[in-house]
């Protein structure tokens, strides 16, 4: 491949006009655990697989879905440590915005600032792109919103999206199942069914995580007991 000579340096374009490192970062995302998000008419749900490397890992200590602000939450596919760094930076940006304008940061603003950080790491010396794609779910004055941010720094607003290992199957499933007037509980059921599609092994409240935000504008991660209830309803 003629591109391979240009794949070592992030800040060099290949002859085909791509930054090969970013392509590789997207591959890293694509081999991460599946995560997805659905925007309902009255809220947003995000969910992810939580496959731990061994049964000895204390699964209660692992939390993949994180709060950025009281009304914005996020999940990732890809490299966990990169996600931690981005979450920390985003929280700080949200806090600085709040201090400066005394207004909770709108979802689009936070997504834009996070995407800017990710883009900076594709155009600086001595750094590599983040190996994560983020799904940001929030509810502000403009209503429920779902954004996907890629390692290149590009972001899109989605009605429903998936990322990671099972992305094509999951997206096909979502395209069939998504309706504009879905309610939040329907969306949670659909999210669980979508995760089930490509799930290896038995799905349970111990190996998936679900986060939701409704019209109350409070982002919450569901407890295992609540996930069990939803799983029972889906059966």
């Amino acid at each position: 491949m003629g591109d391979s000579q240009y794949s070592f340096s992030l800040t060099t374009f290949s002859p085909s006009g791509k930054l090969v490192q970013i392509e590789h970062a997207l591959t890293a995302v694509g081999s991460g655990q599946t995560s997805l998000g659905i925007k309902a008419s009255n809220g947003v749900v995000i969910a992810t697989e939580k496959k731990l490397p061994s049964i000895l890992v204390d699964e209660a200590s692992v939390q993949k879905i994180q709060h950025l602000t009281p009304n914005i939450g996020t999940v990732y596919s890809g490299m966990g440590p990169d996600f931690r760094v981005l979450v920390r930076k985003s929280r700080k940006q949200a806090e600085q915005y709040l201090r400066l304008y005394k207004e909770p940061i709108p979802v689009t603003q936070l997504v834009r600032e996070t995407a800017t950080v990710m883009q900076e790491f594709t155009q600086s010396g001595g750094v590599r792109p983040f190996g994560v794609s983020l799904l940001v779910a929030g509810y502000d004055d403009k209503g429920p919103q779902l954004y996907q941010v890629d390692p290149s720094g590009s972001y899109f607003s989605w009605k429903a999206s998936a990322m990671g290992k099972n992305v094509s199957n999951a997206k096909t499933f979502l395209e069939k199942r998504y309706t504009e007037d879905m309610e939040l509980d329907d969306a949670i059921h659909t999210a669980i069914l979508t995760l089930k599609e490509g799930f290896e092994g038995e799905i349970s409240s111990k190996n998936i995580e679900i986060g939701k935000i409704g019209a109350d504008k409070v982002f919450r991660v569901l407890t295992p007991a609540e996930i069990d209830d939803y799983l029972a309803e889906v059966e």
Partner: protein
Amino acid sequence: MSQSAVDVPPKGGFSFDLCKRNDMLTQKGLKAPSFLKTGTTIVGLIFKDGVILGADTRATEGPIVADKNCEKIHYMAPNIYCCGAGTAADTEAVTDMVSSQLRLHRYQTSRDSRIITALTLLKKHLFSYQGHVSAALVLGGVDITGPHLHTIYPHGSTDTLPFATMGSGSLAAMSVFEAKYKEGLTRDEGIKLVAEAICSGIFNDLGSGSNVDICVITKGNNEYLRNYMEPNPRTYVSSKGYSFTKKTEVLLTKITPLLERVEITEVGEAMEE
């Protein structure tokens, strides 16, 4: 990285670069702007179930009352509140800043903030400014280790006490506490004592006045009783109202709106890769 107006100043506290210019200006006859002080009475005490904070509501600018009903009890965390005396801008800014830092810390640790954390963040900041940040604070709250009450002085020293007073009315309020405080007060007894101490400051100190604000913090709960007592109501108000002769006309045609209301229809934003 994105620049914002809240970036931390370069390490080392204030930069005194403009002092020479200011000296030159005062010599030439320019009066330096005065700052709004909260000649104040602020108090706190620990009672059976937690902490009660109290404050008056007068903000002074020299001999003039600038704000008859200002808020001196500042929010730091859901379980921590802070009363501020001294220069109003300093107390506002410093409590705001530490409140922000505490919030970020709570996200990182997934735990409630501790009063000792707020105390240390405040005293570090005040010490690094060597007393130039004129904020005298009474910090109180209830955390996992129990109820705590501290005082913080502008130079950065702190005390840990069962009952405390600060501000120009602190002596008046302390006399009430010293006479009547005992351990294990109930909530109502505590509120009554705090209100009495603040009233003592309001009536005996010129720098304090107007109303009493109270904040009760217990485990898992806080109650901000704004204007709990209003012992200085305006007694004589003319029922006929007041009429002032119009000296200048306000021309409605000269008022131009700054913002136009625009209806936004699209919700999401698309971005080309």
